[in-house]
Subunit: 350 residues, 4 copies
Amino acid sequence: MHKLGIGVLGVGEMGKRHAENLRRLVPEARLAAVADVAADRAREVAAELEVEHSFRSFDAMLEHKDVDAVLIATPDKFHARAICEAAAAGKDILCEKPLATDLPQAHEALAAVAKAGVRLQIGFMRRYDPAYEAAMRRVEVGEIGEPVIFKSVGRDKDVPPLAAYQSNVNGMVFYNNTIHDFDLARWLMRDEVTDVHAYTTVAIRPEIAQYGDVVASVVNLKYQRGAIGNVESYVQAIYGYDVRTEIVGSKGSIFVGSVDKMPATFLTAGGGVHVLADHFLSRFADAYLAEVRDFVHNMLNDRPPRVSGEDGLRALAIAVAAENSHLQGKSCMVATEQSGQRRDSQTVSS
Amino acid sequence: MHKLGIGVLGVGEMGKRHAENLRRLVPEARLAAVADVAADRAREVAAELEVEHSFRSFDAMLEHKDVDAVLIATPDKFHARAICEAAAAGKDILCEKPLATDLPQAHEALAAVAKAGVRLQIGFMRRYDPAYEAAMRRVEVGEIGEPVIFKSVGRDKDVPPLAAYQSNVNGMVFYNNTIHDFDLARWLMRDEVTDVHAYTTVAIRPEIAQYGDVVASVVNLKYQRGAIGNVESYVQAIYGYDVRTEIVGSKGSIFVGSVDKMPATFLTAGGGVHVLADHFLSRFADAYLAEVRDFVHNMLNDRPPRVSGEDGLRALAIAVAAENSHLQGKSCMVATEQSGQRRDSQTVSS
Amino acid sequence: MHKLGIGVLGVGEMGKRHAENLRRLVPEARLAAVADVAADRAREVAAELEVEHSFRSFDAMLEHKDVDAVLIATPDKFHARAICEAAAAGKDILCEKPLATDLPQAHEALAAVAKAGVRLQIGFMRRYDPAYEAAMRRVEVGEIGEPVIFKSVGRDKDVPPLAAYQSNVNGMVFYNNTIHDFDLARWLMRDEVTDVHAYTTVAIRPEIAQYGDVVASVVNLKYQRGAIGNVESYVQAIYGYDVRTEIVGSKGSIFVGSVDKMPATFLTAGGGVHVLADHFLSRFADAYLAEVRDFVHNMLNDRPPRVSGEDGLRALAIAVAAENSHLQGKSCMVATEQSGQRRDSQTVSS
Amino acid sequence: MHKLGIGVLGVGEMGKRHAENLRRLVPEARLAAVADVAADRAREVAAELEVEHSFRSFDAMLEHKDVDAVLIATPDKFHARAICEAAAAGKDILCEKPLATDLPQAHEALAAVAKAGVRLQIGFMRRYDPAYEAAMRRVEVGEIGEPVIFKSVGRDKDVPPLAAYQSNVNGMVFYNNTIHDFDLARWLMRDEVTDVHAYTTVAIRPEIAQYGDVVASVVNLKYQRGAIGNVESYVQAIYGYDVRTEIVGSKGSIFVGSVDKMPATFLTAGGGVHVLADHFLSRFADAYLAEVRDFVHNMLNDRPPRVSGEDGLRALAIAVAAENSHLQGKSCMVATEQSGQRRDSQTVSS
């Protein structure tokens, strides 16, 4: 069997999971190398996964002959640059979300990909989750009629360490967390978001305001064909990892999500107790695996990737508009144009 | 036992339910009379419930010696005037929501009540639902810490007849449906909403736009102490009557609501099927009963009503701001002042 | 409207609920009198419900001209005798389950009813529960194909006081609790149980063994047409009141029941918590009301009652066979014949 | 890292899954070889998993120097013989359930293991399922007090092909399906089952009676310390794969299981629809993996296996007693003694 040789850039929690999946669970892939600016970490992961090569430098990995494609799992703000480098080296790319942390870099990355004639997939893995996939199939066959309202909730369990805000390698919550919901907002509704309005809060953690981030947000959405929506994010829900989405239509509604971790109920005089989900790597374990399998299969068979760079750009544009709404205190238009970023995100109607 | 003599004004679907409850299930009450502009309907309900007196005129009922208090269940836009008349006649009042359909009338009604020295309760019956009550108790003891996000969904099952829009006796969806959620938004969060932003749609029923109403809405909320929220309404969900609310806090979260009508699951090769809730009179049957019982009990014992006229005013002010946001395409401040209605609902920050 | 005059015999917890329903919620009924050997209790309930007459003696109540029918809610072991007396007085009867606590008395009661030409309904109120009714409708239209397995669980919440065992007015658990499931076993499967096998335990409360009762039981069922089943009972589940039933068929399955008391979930770091159901009077409040309404309506309209004396007899026969299995340590045949009680309940196959 | 070399015997659906897990997901294992009487199948699986050696003969695989341990996944009735051969060759063994299909062979296998001084684990993988493990932890810390009732349901989705009955390589349902529940019955209750009583049915498929098998069964259990239980099995539930277990105690209860396949609900005018679980390989995917990982880890570290041959024997003894009860129509004692199989399984009490 011909296999796709892959190098993974960035082997922190997320990149290591991808590397494990590629090494063990994707028969069509061969994990050729891993790279990380933390050379020790790269070496350790390579040893643990029995991968021949580990690098400190992305360039060195890109030059290796066994690397046909790369998976980018660096901190968010390095995504765009890594895409440019990989494209220049002629490699196909699976890049974790977001495509970039601002629109100019996003356009630069897409231009590099286009120029090099390589293919780029963005890591919106929820599209590969069995429940979200089942939802999409039902939307597509018209089971809920015309979509009217999109709703999504994304809550993380643990209080992020202050260092995560200080380093700011991932941008504010809209770019790192909510962007999943922004992508679902487009994909499941099969329509484009044109305007957003955001309220945010730092109420229970005022010290993070100085880093430009928030604890929670609600973002109203307006769609091109008239539908509406709302996306809520909360980064320290304490009780669990809670991701839920609804697509409400003219004939019915679809609800995806569960806060339960396992099918077990404990009944005592104090009530019935369920154990709650706690982490995205367990909730979406199957989705992450299906994602890399699909990417590898499509690359080997000269097919386009399932989630395009354009998808990455459009989700990013919603995040940018949401941040602008947060900063300016008014609703903002969603615009993808590079040069017009500031101008295009002006208030819609005031 | 001394009983509170009550007259019910308006015996359509809602008023008739109240009359039935008062007649049969509230030992402390005596249903003395019913009145309805449709004199036939008043007579029929009186006969069915074995009530001695039925009236076509509210005035006539108010003059009756056995009527100590009135329950107002007319179309929304007559609420304020009925309150004024009942107050002038010295009767205590339980009035269905909303208090009024605009702020000037609301202030007029409250002034009449104050002047007459009578008591007024607004019919936010969800506060009496066992699940919402349990939620409130847990909020009060601090179980979820500091409230951070309020979420609520209210979806009605059936497509409203066009005549309902044409007659416009209830005002747009914010005044008749969403106002329940606006009340919960204040009550459960124990805080005041200061700003709102609304997106609305008529996408799947454009012909109602001419009546100033919408099919669905999402309303972002901003609270005085920094919390945020969102309320969604949809008037023709088709699949069922679906009311759900979440209060998300710094230590945990409370979720109220279920779309299931009964505890039964039907498992076939096509999947597991649940029968869904279909109407507010069945979902909130216990709450409506508890509401009138509590009102009657408090009146008999010279206690203040549990849901005040002020509560009615404040929920109305949120609805007014939401409508303004819908009309003006920008976020609006919530203001209760009579004279300043237009001025106070200006855009918050632009 | 002509109304059915009813006297309630026995106004303990259960009888009082029936009296309240009849007094307030059944327009076709007139609660004419209550009777109880505890004359004070009868007087108090009569006062509270504003019923004109209260009696210490059943005979006295039966002689009253306004009493067209009686509802019997005495302790179980007085049911059969009360039925005989009511029948002799020419009254129609709604009797709480069980029909009797042994087969000879059951036959005596049925003979008295037949001789007097009155009508008798047995209080298997679960047949009136909306979820059980929905299940039955789906069974009847063949949705699950041929029924193969019947399963039922009945768990009470509180530890019964020792006095309840000492007085033994209700017979062992099979006659007072499990008999509901035995009735469902016949009704929902539309077939007759021919054999049973019971294991029982007093493990966590050995002191009740001396009263001939048990803490928990599992009863295997064998049906005439080949289906099988199992019924579990547990009288001190502590965590809640938990009644669940499944009908498993060749094409699908129906599950009825929920341990949740209300639609509310409390999410904290310790897990997701549900408040649990705690009492049959709340779980089956609607069923008890529908039961008396239906009885009254059928009596007034000269229709047969929905749950017959024969139904009472057949459920009792299963309970008798289950007790015999418990006593004899082997499976037993179900037999309804009066004279042959001992002989017919012999071991099936050994 | 030192790795455990493993050979898999039998690479049908189950054995192939084990081989895949060992090859890809168990870093401490090296899948050295596969064997199957269907040599083609062995070759294909070896090719697909890139395993160097494939054999038609178990003996040949046992002689291979890289094979330190074997995983046996043949049809049930060959388990015991394979264990004997593997033991004689000095290999540690993970054998799918059941240990054997009768007690004499079971004892023979255990004797061979003892004589050879090798270790044997039986494949009761449910003990490794996260929900069952969580249940066991709560039982162990006393959360539900003293266990009183054990309940378990095991339903397979698809109608087994007639050929499966004709070949009879797996024994009747008790040995192949219900034995999982019999193992849970011991493990979760931390007690031994002493007596059983079974009712069975072939009602909807009478043609399988000639093969000594049944479509459904209910088995009552009696425990040494006084608890009771019931296990239901149904081999053609059509609607889905449905495994549920309850452990009911003096202070609370634990419920494990869900019939839902994924966290998605589809709400339409016809009701709320859930997609149902359909296969044990998906429901217990994690458990199968955890099982082989734990076995491999314990073997490498000279620890005893977590599920012993004795566990296999005791679960088998319950299945044997259940079959005897089915055949003899009476309750039967559970006995593990080889020579006394017939004698020990006599009726308990008649």
